[in-house]
């Protein structure tokens, strides 16, 4: 038994040494590292990869970006596993900040959610408001009309939150009346790109952010077309916040502050506004600084005042 323990001990030490060696080597890397949690729909557009290359080159800060859906992004931030949170879900952001996890909240860009669907629009909802559109889809779906399908992310992502908000303003109770209400309403529980593929394969309607849709349509010959793209409830607002050092004193607040200030600076805003023009013929995001006053509804967020390093 003693020997068994000593053998065990030796291997545990070996494991510890290997891990420790790895830790030391990562700390010795030259650029400083800023950990960012974000959502799949923002990451899948490729904007953040472009920002990562540019920012490393210019400021010698390596942006370590992890995208795993809004729920996990926020959970990571609430555990202090990242330094910065970059998301698009105003209701979830408000809770995050009210609970004291986030500071230095700034808007960086916006675009619009759109409802896309089969080109021949079997439900005939083109030209309707988003609320009228979803109400029509539900009425037809409940009646068992052939070929009417709506695909939902169903994953508590920012896009899913926006979809729930539309159902609510159309007068439905989402939990009671929509989710699981029939075969016409399908929840994928997957990211934006995967859900778009599913919708494309099924010939279904789906709510998506415009950026992912354009990226996906180009890369993947997606058969879906834009059906509804106007309505106040379709605003998609991206914002950034630093994880509060009062909750987690070890996070990289210095680089987080600098990165926030760069994103809202003229250089950062131009970078965002230019992204996608070359590839898609139009920008994927509108820089928020182009608005006269972003603190008014429906934006309700400061996008101009530089932030200072938060103190605990």
């Amino acid at each position: 038994m003693k020997k068994l323990l000593s053998v065990f001990g030796v291997f545990l030490i070996l494991l510890a040494v290997i891990c420790a060696a790895g830790c030391v080597s990562t700390q010795q890397q030259e650029p400083t590292q800023l950990k960012i949690a974000t959502t799949t729909s923002l990451y899948d557009t490729g904007l953040l990869d472009a920002v990562q290359d540019y920012y490393l080159d210019k400021y010698n800060v390596d942006l370590l970006i992890t995208s795993q859906g809004t729920g996990k992004a926020i959970a990571s931030a609430m555990n202090g596993d990242v330094d910065v949170l970059l998301v698009h879900s105003p209701s979830q952001e408000a809770v995050f900040i009210d609970d004291g996890y986030g500071v230095n909240h700034r808007g960086i860009a916006y675009n619009y959610f759109i409802i896309v669907g089969p080109a021949d629009d079997p439900a005939g909802i083109a030209g309707m408001t988003p609320e009228e559109g979803v109400a029509t889809l539900k009425a037809l779906g409940d009646a068992g009309t052939e070929g009417i399908i709506f695909v939902s992310r169903g994953d508590n992502s920012g896009t899913h939150s926006a979809e729930k908000a539309i159902w609510k303003s159309a007068g439905f109770n989402y939990t009671a009346q929509i989710t699981g209400c029939g075969p016409w309403y399908k929840e994928t529980g997957a990211g934006m790109g995967d859900s778009l593929t599913t919708a494309g394969q099924l010939g279904a309607y789906i709510l998506t952010d415009e950026a992912t849709y354009l990226t996906y349509k180009k890369n993947n010959n997606l058969s879906l077309e834009v059906i509804i793209n106007e309505g106040a409830s379709l605003l998609n607002r991206y914002s950034i916040m630093t994880i509060s050092p009062a909750k987690f004193p070890d996070t990289n607040v210095k680089d987080a502050t600098d990165f926030t200030n760069w994103l809202i600076s003229e250089d950062g805003q131009n970078f965002i506004g230019a992204y996608g023009v070359e590839t898609y013929g139009k920008p994927l995001f509108t820089p928020m600084s182009t608005l006269n006053d972003s603190t008014l509804p429906p934006f309700n967020i400061d996008c101009k005042t530089p932030v200072v390093i938060p103190t605990a």
């Binding site: 020997k3 068994l4 053998v7 291997f11 070996l14 494991l15 290997i18 891990c19 790895g22 830790c23 990562t26 950990k35 799949t40 899948d44 490729g46 990869d49 990562q52 390596d62 370590l64 970006i65 992890t66 995208s67 795993q68 990571s76 555990n79 202090g80 596993d81 990242v82 997957a190 990211g191 934006m192 790109g193 995967d194 778009l196 593929t197 990226t215 996906y216 180009k218 890369n219 993947n220 010959n221 997606l222 987690f248």
Partner: protein, 235 residues
Amino acid sequence: MGEITDGFLEAITLIVTMNPELMEIAGRSLYVSSIATLVAALIAIPIGAIIYYYDFRGKRTVINLVQTLYALPTVIVGLLVYLLVSNSGPLGPLKLLYTTNAMIIAQVILVSPLIVGLAIAALSGLDKEMKYTTMSLNARAYRAMMTLVRETKFAILSAVVLAFGRAIAEVGAVMMVGGNIRHFTRTLTTAITLNTSMGEFSTSIALGIILLTIALIVNFGVNFFQHYNGRMKDD
């Protein structure tokens, strides 16, 4: 159909031109899975030998348990390691989350049972006489175990190769604890997941080809080694 052929063509181009990001990702996959397999082998082979060598109460149950863990779901391992190394977890101060070390830990947990179980199975294939002879000839237990393990080295090597295969093809756990961070923790499998969700199917196909090629090379290598050694013995 066009999509697949186009994808393949672009995949070949990416591979032939040694696309730097692709090579970096493949290198990282290889690094993480090799270290994980090595560490797992160093831990698991002795454990397997110990379980085989000693007779104790509940030995059957232990072996059954180990074999059950062959089917350990990768996402459960991912969740477990995530909770351990997350900032608010017990290993939080080590700052392991979203590093390759966290991915290695996850893969070690994932493949160790496989090596333990297959090592026991390999040793059990030995003649019982051999066990008792070795026991009587060698005063020290660990020398006896070494002798037995050496006898079954090819079977155990196959177990290690199988473990490597499971490690490098795994996606759920490394996605959760590595975070799929570009230039940092992105591996072949997480990159395939990401590129597929972005609609970049050709990149996914290229990464898939590289993944299969690595598996092929490793298996050919082991086969060659076994044949070569087998011939030497016969001579």
